[in-house]
């Protein structure tokens, strides 16, 4: 059995601190944050574990 999720989420990504994250860096989109995955192919996940976030 398999579960397929298809969803809409904001684009863009939040730059890391090393990339210059701060008040004056990044676009407005970056500052608001976008979708980021928290998984790898083949990884075993459990119910409740974050697979990504905005």
């Amino acid at each position: 059995s398999t579960i397929v999720l298809v969803f809409e989420a904001p684009k863009g990504r939040r730059p890391s601190f090393d990339e210059g994250w701060g008040e004056a860096s990044g676009t407005e989109e970056d500052r608001r944050g976008g979708w980021r995955w928290n998984i790898k192919p083949g990884q075993y996940v459990q119910v409740g574990q974050a697979i990504g976030w905005v």
Binding site: S1, T2, L5, E8, N38, I39, V45, V47, A50
Partner: protein, 426 residues
């Protein structure tokens, strides 16, 4: 001839079993061929009468290597039903614990987290397979902006959807239209706009919904268009029924609060990402495979509203990673239940896909859904009959709505981590 008839001794002998079976098989083959020819003639005649618009339902014949071709000839749904019946047979009391322990050893079941410590309680493998976990065994990620894993399983693939194409493993792609259905859902409402006055009462929401026009993102919609999509002669209708059960107040409130935070899409956002000036969006997908030893109930990954359900009564191929690599468009062939709705960032869909051993998909809040059962065809046939009555092409799925579940959200609210249903054997 006369001499032969008179002088030949008549000896009666039993027909050999093999010859008898061959004769009966040949006779049966002749009957099925004759019936098939009659049906084909009747179908062609019907097509001529209807101008070629009669609904068609053909058996799925996927392309692929010889393993797939052989599998496509098997009666997979019947096999799955028999497998389910077999697993519902009661296991003798003293064989239950060793039997389940053996199963768990083979498939890697963690017995420590099962809610019922005494394995004797499970009368058969089907009930053990659909076991529950101890409270707190699956803590939810504390990040409120996180999307949670809907089930225990292996991440097969994830990524971004480009041009409406979902990439399957090894680069095989299939379209979202094939996976979710090409028509716009019966109901597509926008997320509630963030409001400065969060203490607005429920009564005010109802009154606003009764107005003739609603203002969404600066565009006016009439309510029929807003909730049902624009009426058009070209827009095919499917047989839809409200299958919802009333939602719990706690879920409803939590989901309302979550949706009110978001800046989700407009009614036109049916699987097309909506890029507003405020926040560009994209479509993402994730595929999670549940192995036989995994916990087989699935949960809501976020707070969202399920507006409609589409039941595609397809085939029941295995969904093992091997076949996912081998058979193109596997998810678009198999029986599946597509739940369509919205979350705080726009469109959201959740699709449990059945397989040969786990053909039964259960949705807790859907009172009529029956998958992999003899009544499955009845639901699909109703949709086909409705399409034929309206002189429209058969959509390929039976659709139901959850409008009655919540007066305020126009759908079934589900809070993050809430159990939605599960996969059952057979």
């Amino acid at each position: 001839l006369r001499t032969a008839l008179r002088d030949t001794k008549v000896v009666w002998k039993p027909i050999p079993i093999g010859l008898g079976i061959a004769f009966l098989g040949g006779f049966q083959f002749y009957r099925t061929q004759a019936r098939h020819n009659e049906e084909e003639k009747a179908r062609q005649q019907q097509e001529l009468e209807d101008g070629g618009k009669a609904p068609k339902r053909q058996r799925i014949r996927p392309s692929g290597p010889w393993q797939v071709q052989i599998m496509s000839t098997l009666p997979l749904k019947a096999m799955s039903r028999i497998w389910g019946r077999f697993n519902e047979l009661e296991i003798p009391y003293y064989l239950r614990v060793p039997g389940f322990k053996l199963y768990g050893w083979i498939f890697g079941v963690n017995f420590d987290e099962i809610n019922e410590p005494d394995l004797h309680v499970f009368p058969n493998l089907a009930s053990f397979f659909y076991r529950t976990l101890k409270p707190g065994a699956r803590p939810l990620d504390p990040n409120p902006n996180a999307l949670l894993s809907p089930a225990d399983g292996k991440v097969i693939q994830f990524g971004t959807i480009d041009n409406g194409e979902v990439e399957q493993v090894k680069g095989v792609t299939y379209s979202l239209d094939a996976l979710l259905g090409s028509q716009k859902p019966t109901r597509a409402t926008p997320n509630p706009k963030p409001s400065a006055d969060r203490s607005k009462s429920a009564d005010q929401e109802i009154i606003r919904a009764d107005e003739e026009f609603a203002q969404v993102n600066g565009i006016s919609y009439t309510l029929p268009n807003l909730f049902s999509g624009p009426e058009s002669k070209d827009t095919p209708k499917t047989a839809t029924e409200d299958q919802s059960t009333p939602a719990r107040a706690s879920s409803e409130q939590e989901v309302r609060d979550s949706l009110a935070l978001g800046d989700g899409g407009t009614p036109d956002s049916w699987w097309q990402p909506v890029s507003t000036s405020a926040r560009p969006t994209a479509l993402y997908y994730a595929v999670i495979y549940l192995a036989p030893g995994d916990y087989h109930r699935f949960h809501s990954p976020c707070s969202w509203v399920v507006e409609s359900r589409r039941h595609f009564a397809g085939e029941l191929f295995s969904v093992s990673p091997y076949l996912q690599r081998t058979l193109p468009g596997l998810f678009t062939l198999n029986e599946r239940v597509v739940l369509l709705g919205r979350w705080r960032y726009g469109f959201f869909s959740y699709t449990p896909v059945g397989a040969t051993n786990v053909g039964s998909i259960k949705i807790n809040f859907d009172k009529e859904l029956r998958t992999n059962s003899l009544t499955t065809d009845t639901a699909a046939d109703r949709a086909a009959a409705a399409a034929a009555e309206n002189k429209q092409p058969y959509s390929g799925f039976a659709e139901a709505t959850y409008n009655g579940a919540s007066a305020l959200l126009h759908g079934q609210p589900l809070k993050r981590g809430e159990e939605m249903g599960g996969f059952q054997l057979g």
